[in-house]
């Protein structure tokens, strides 16, 4: 299938999102689409698949002018969109999720579950996924849910597949599998639009790249004819010096130490973090990294083991105690666990430190506002006012609000779980810079991340978790992608 | 400490002196003199989900229309709190006399008192009020009704017949009065061999009657303090296969159907429309400053298959 989009304009109310985009997708190519958050990538694809109508411009499919009325029509024509926000029905089984709205029927309109299983089995084998079909989708990890979505898309016999940040929640191994699948799809003549923030991936698998900025296409080039730096420069419209700002690490005393911590999803975990240090925690999805952090923070119960804070043994049974001990937790799912989306920026930031503004029971709004404004400025949250609803901010700005909220409690230890997921390059760098500032002031940071370059670029020390245990500890100097992956997959 | 106590006491006194049980003078409505044709009647009914009270309301409305007087009707839906609000709203509309059919005798007291404080005469219908000044209570003459039932049995079966009595909720005024009336006659002319409470309930009427038949197989008639119990008793009698005459009280729809079907011998029917009618007459007299009887009995009617 060959698609051409010409001079596409689209506005939401007075907000002009697309201002004359051109895009071409050839048959059997993997075409990367890059741009900062809000550049219009997803909107352009939604216009193509008929979710949004266009204001101006033309779309040609195989040379014929074609406009889809809705995504269903596009899907029937062979264009499938795997969205970044997963369309998972959490109470339904994995199998039912894969066939929602297109269940194969047998006599009397009954669902043909044998056929469903056979079809699903085929795709799972192809993707090397081993998930029980009757598992509740809501209890699958985000990565597993992503794989379900991908398997679902493969079943539609699509000629064009649009993937929006497909690897954001996947482990290295799952990513490799996905890439293999993409390569074989390409051989079959399927075209793929690959939207991602991850440079390494794009340069590894894509044939061409289109860079967008402020609702326009800036450039389209074959991958061999461009480079990492050029793409970044075109994307942000300015030079970005280094991806990772320089760290001056001077680790001090041990602040947090865990000894033989054992919980439902992990056992015998021991490690420590010093003040001013960033400890990276790597491992495959589902290895138990998040669960260890939730255990330390008191969200999940701990079966045995000790948490030692500043040399004293402490019991943390709930998040309130953790916060009172000066521990902050930036969770991997900011919309579900990090933010009250309907709250203003101010109310979100002030949430964990409310009592410090209310020495006599009544919140002193002036103090609160000054404090919040200071943090907004320090974290360069882009907003007109502190009263803006957090749900209206971009992903990167939302993440900054979550971080601001925890900086507000004056933490001694900060746990960051996937701190830059779904955040654009510019904001990423700002977040890294912030981590450096915090460690300069003596905060101990534990950073859980699935992005290996991030772990390597920012950590002073790297812990690798494999099947609920610490498989190894690597100092910054000797750590490489290879030796991390070896530990993460159970090698020695 | 003593100073604080003194302060506290003074404060409480000041606060208390600012309190009163009467609405402030500036808020009281004007009560001018009015002609009789201009009088307005307010009726507060306990519920309109019961045919008895619907007829009672119709009685009031019909009588008032006949006299060319306006009536405002409010329905408390069996909620005593709502009834107090309703009465206040009626007072607000400037009614000259209040006819109240209370949901509960104790709960209505405050509403009667508010009417008293503004000088609006109150007539209660069917049930009385515990407190406050009520000009008159219009209610069925339950004592007379009990007597009528006993006399009917004597008429039909002759003196000395063996009879049973199904009583209502012990202590309730209807139970007391209907029982008294019945015994006024029955103690002399009949032989009451069984007397048990079935709490005005149809199911209990059934089980209690079964027991009575078991113990006294020879009874010839039974008097129930209401129709519900009478209808329960009929079931018990039918399954025992005996021929026992049943007489109920109230005259509700089910009972009248049972009489038509030849199952129920008779019922002492209340006449709610008549209660309404009498209440309007008493109310108008009271509004004109005439003296009215404190207890106005509404006559009852014995309904048999002939009627």
């Amino acid at each position: 299938m060959h698609i051409t989009m010409q001079g596409i304009y689209k506005a939401f109310g007075t907000n002009q999102v697309l201002t004359g985009v051109d895009f071409e997708l050839k048959e059997g190519e993997v075409h990367a689409l890059m741009g900062e958050n809000g550049a219009g990538k997803s909107t352009m694809m939604n216009v193509l698949t008929g979710l949004h109508s266009l204001d101006q411009g033309q779309i040609f499919v195989d040379g014929k002018e074609t406009y889809f009325k809705n995504p269903k029509e596009a899907e029937q024509a062979g264009i499938t969109f795997i969205h970044q926000e997963l369309n998972i029905w959490p109470e339904m089984s994995v199998l039912d999720n894969m066939f929602i709205g297109k269940e194969p029927k047998k006599a009397f309109g009954l669902v043909d579950s044998a056929k469903m299983k056979r079809l699903a089995e085929e795709q799972f084998k192809r993707l090397d996924v081993s998930l029980p079909f009757d598992k509740e989708a809501g209890s699958c990890s985000v990565g597993e849910q992503q794989m379900i979505e991908i398997a679902k898309a493969l079943m539609t016999k699509a000629k064009v597949i649009i993937m929006d940040e497909p690897t954001a929640a996947l482990t290295e191994r799952e990513i490799q599998k996905l890439f293999e699948v993409i390569a074989s799809l390409k051989k079959e003549g399927v075209s793929i639009v690959y939207i991602s923030h991850r440079m390494e991936e794009i340069f590894a698998i894509c044939d061409r790249i289109t860079v967008m900025r402020d609702g326009k296409t800036v450039d389209t080039k074959p991958i061999p004819e461009t480079s990492f730096e050029v793409v970044v420069r075109k994307m942000v419209g300015r030079e970005l010096k280094d991806r990772f700002p320089k760290r001056n690490s001077k680790p001090g005393e041990i602040v947090l130490e865990v000894k033989n911590l054992t919980g439902k999803a992990f056992r015998d975990v021991s490690f420590s973090v010093c003040s001013g240090e960033i400890v990276g925690v790597s491992g495959l999805m589902g290895a138990g990294r998040t669960e260890i952090m939730r255990g330390i923070f008191g969200l999940d119960s701990i079966e045995s083991g000790d948490v030692i804070l500043n040399g004293e043994k402490v019991t943390i049974k709930n998040a309130n105690q953790a916060v009172n001990h000066g521990i902050g937790f930036i969770t991997e799912d900011r919309k579900d666990e990090g933010l009250v989306l309907d709250f203003s920026i101010k109310d979100n930031i002030a949430l964990p430190s409310l009592y410090s503004f209310a020495p006599k029971g009544i919140i002193k709004e002036k103090d609160e506002k000054e404090f919040v404004d200071m943090l907004i400025k320090r974290l360069t949250v882009k907003t007109e006012s502190a009263e803006t609803r957090v749900g209206d901010l971009s992903g990167g700005n939302q993440q900054k609000v979550v971080i601001a909220k925890w900086i507000g409690i004056g933490p001694k230890v900060l746990i960051l779980d996937e701190p830059t997921r779904g955040v654009d390059v510019g904001a990423k760098r700002e977040i890294y810079q912030l981590m450096n500032e915090l460690t300069d002031r003596g905060v101990a940071i534990i950073m859980v991340s699935s992005e290996l370059p991030e772990v390597l670029g920012m950590s002073d020390r790297i812990l690798v978790v494999h099947e609920g245990k610490i498989a190894g500890e690597l100092p910054k100097e000797t750590a490489t992608q290879e030796n991390i992956m070896t530990l993460a997959t159970g090698g020695q | 400490m003593r100073k604080f106590l003194a302060l506290f006491l003074t404060l409480s006194l000041v606060v208390l002196s600012a309190c009163s049980m009467e609405p402030p003078a500036w808020a009281k409505p004007d009560q001018g003199d009015k002609k009789i044709a201009d009088l307005k009647i307010g009726l507060s009914v306990s519920t309109l989900n019961n045919p008895f009270f619907v007829s009672l309301k119709d009685g009031v409305v019909k009588e008032a229309e006949a006299k060319g007087i306006e009536v405002k009707v409010v329905d408390a839906q069996d909620d005593s709190a709502k009834q107090i609000n309703d009465v206040e709203d009626l007072i607000q509309q400037g009614v000259d006399v209040l006819l109240i059919n209370p949901t509960d005798s104790a709960a209505i007291s405050t509403a009667v008192q508010s009417a008293n404080s503004i000088g609006i005469p109150v007539i209660t219908l069917d049930r009385s009020a515990d407190k406050g000044e009520v000009e008159a209570l219009v209610a069925s003459d339950n004592v007379k009704g009990g007597e009528m039932a006993a006399e009917y049995i004597v008429e039909q079966l002759g003196e000395g017949a063996l009879v049973a009595e199904l009583e209502g909720v012990p202590g309730a005024s209807a139970t007391r009065e209907r029982g008294t009336g019945f015994h006024n006659v029955a103690d002399e002319k009949l032989n009451v061999v069984a007397k048990q409470a079935a709490n005005f309930d149809r199911t209990e009427g059934l089980t209690v009657m079964e027991n009575i038949i078991q113990a006294n197989p020879d009874i010839k008639a039974v008097f129930a303090h209401n129709d519900e119990m009478a209808l329960g008793a009929i079931e018990a009698i039918n399954s025992s296969g005996r021929d026992i005459m049943v007489i109920g009280f109230d005259g509700n729809d089910d009972a009248l159907k049972a009489i038509e079907a030849g199952q129920l011998e008779a019922t002492v029917a209340q006449q709610p429309d008549l209660i309404g009618q009498l209440a309007v007459q008493a109310g108008l007299d009271a509004a004109q400053g005439k003296k009215v009887e404190e207890n106005i009995p509404a006559p009852l009617k014995l309904v048999t298959i002939e009627e």
Binding site: N318, V323, G338, I363 | E88
Partner: protein
């Protein structure tokens, strides 16, 4: 590039929207008041306004508590039953010779304890609020009937303070209305000016995020259901004084009136959004409807029809606004 005037226009639009959003219920009340007073001028007479304030006070107290509960995303169906049970217990205490004011205080505290039972079932027992309070509603209702044996408790004596509590006037304003206004002010400050209030909203907005932010979610919830029970019992005390007796069936379906008032006031049943001022307006709308329709001589059957329609219209308008 957007023209400046366009931006200005947009801002004006937003302002207008936020004004209608905040004042929507208030405008509704105003229209209703104007309509009723044109149809029957006696509506605006001072005595009627005082009556109205007294009439709404009971529903107001219950609806204030319900506002907190609904803001956390919960519901409390047991308030009517708590009202009846605490009213019966209070009356029982008074009859047995305990000082009436002390009895009212103990009764209100008992109400708080009944509410805490709800809170514990929901937090520790992990029950859905609807189910938990449906169960306790039945339970408390049953206990009331057991305690009163189905009969009203009367003979509450003639203690003047007790009578003032439900029927008296303070500086010309009905005491229940004074109680309502004082409670409103206290709760307004609690909801909008204290950490507790902010946490209430946060729990309704995103309970997981609230928990991770260190908020003691279970504790806040238990306190809120206790508050709801306490206010229901306080409303019960007013009712006991007004009726000069405790009725075993008191407060039947009061929970629905309270929920209606909260919803009319613009609070979202899914939690996190709404204001107690809106609830006050919602309570007044229902009160004006009850009082006004009586004054207009509308039959009680039609009154229910009208109330139902008003709720539907209010919620539809609310949807439209937020869309």
């Amino acid at each position: 590039m957007k023209a400046n005037s366009e931006v200005l226009q947009e801002k004006k639009g937003n302002l207008l929207q936020s004004v209608t959003q905040k004042l929507g219920p208030f405008l509704g009340l105003l229209i209703l008041v104007i309509f009723v007073s044109v149809m029957n001028p006696s509506f605006l007479e001072p005595l009627n306004i005082l009556n109205l304030l007294r009439q709404v006070s009971i529903n107001a107290l219950i609806a204030f508590g319900m506002t907190f509960v609904i803001l956390t995303g919960g519901i409390d169906l047991s308030v009517g039953a708590i009202l009846a049970l605490s009213s019966a217990l209070t009356a029982g205490m008074i009859v047995s010779g305990i000082d009436p004011m002390l009895a009212i205080l103990i009764g209100a505290l008992l109400g708080a304890i009944f509410g805490a039972v709800n809170g514990l079932l929901i937090t520790k027992g992990k029950m859905a609020p609807f189910i938990a309070t449906l169960a306790t509603m039945t339970l408390f209702r049953g206990l009331t009937l057991v305690y009163t044996e189905g009969n009203p408790i009367t003979g509450l004596g003639d203690n003047i303070l007790f009578q003032l509590f439900g029927r008296g006037y303070f500086l010309g304003i009905p005491v229940p209305a004074v109680t309502m206004i004082v409670t409103f002010i206290v709760l307004y400050i609690l909801l909008h000016k204290t950490p507790f209030g902010r946490q209430t909203y946060a729990i309704g907005g995103n309970e997981k995020a609230a928990l991770i932010s260190g908020i003691k979610v279970p504790r806040v919830k238990v306190l809120i259901y206790s508050l709801s029970g306490f206010l229901a019992a306080l409303a019960g005390a007013i009712l006991t004084s007004r009726l000069n007796s405790a009725q075993p069936t008191a407060g039947e379906s009061y929970e629905l009136d309270a929920i209606a008032a909260v919803v009319l006031g613009g609070t979202s049943l899914s939690g996190g959004k709404g204001r107690i001022f809106g609830t006050m307006i919602g309570v007044l709308i229902i009160g004006v409807l009850n009082n006004g329709l009586n004054l207009l001589g509308v039959s009680s059957f039609y009154q229910q029809v009208v109330k139902g329609i008003v709720i539907i219209i209010a919620v539809l308008l609310d949807r439209k606004k937020s869309a």
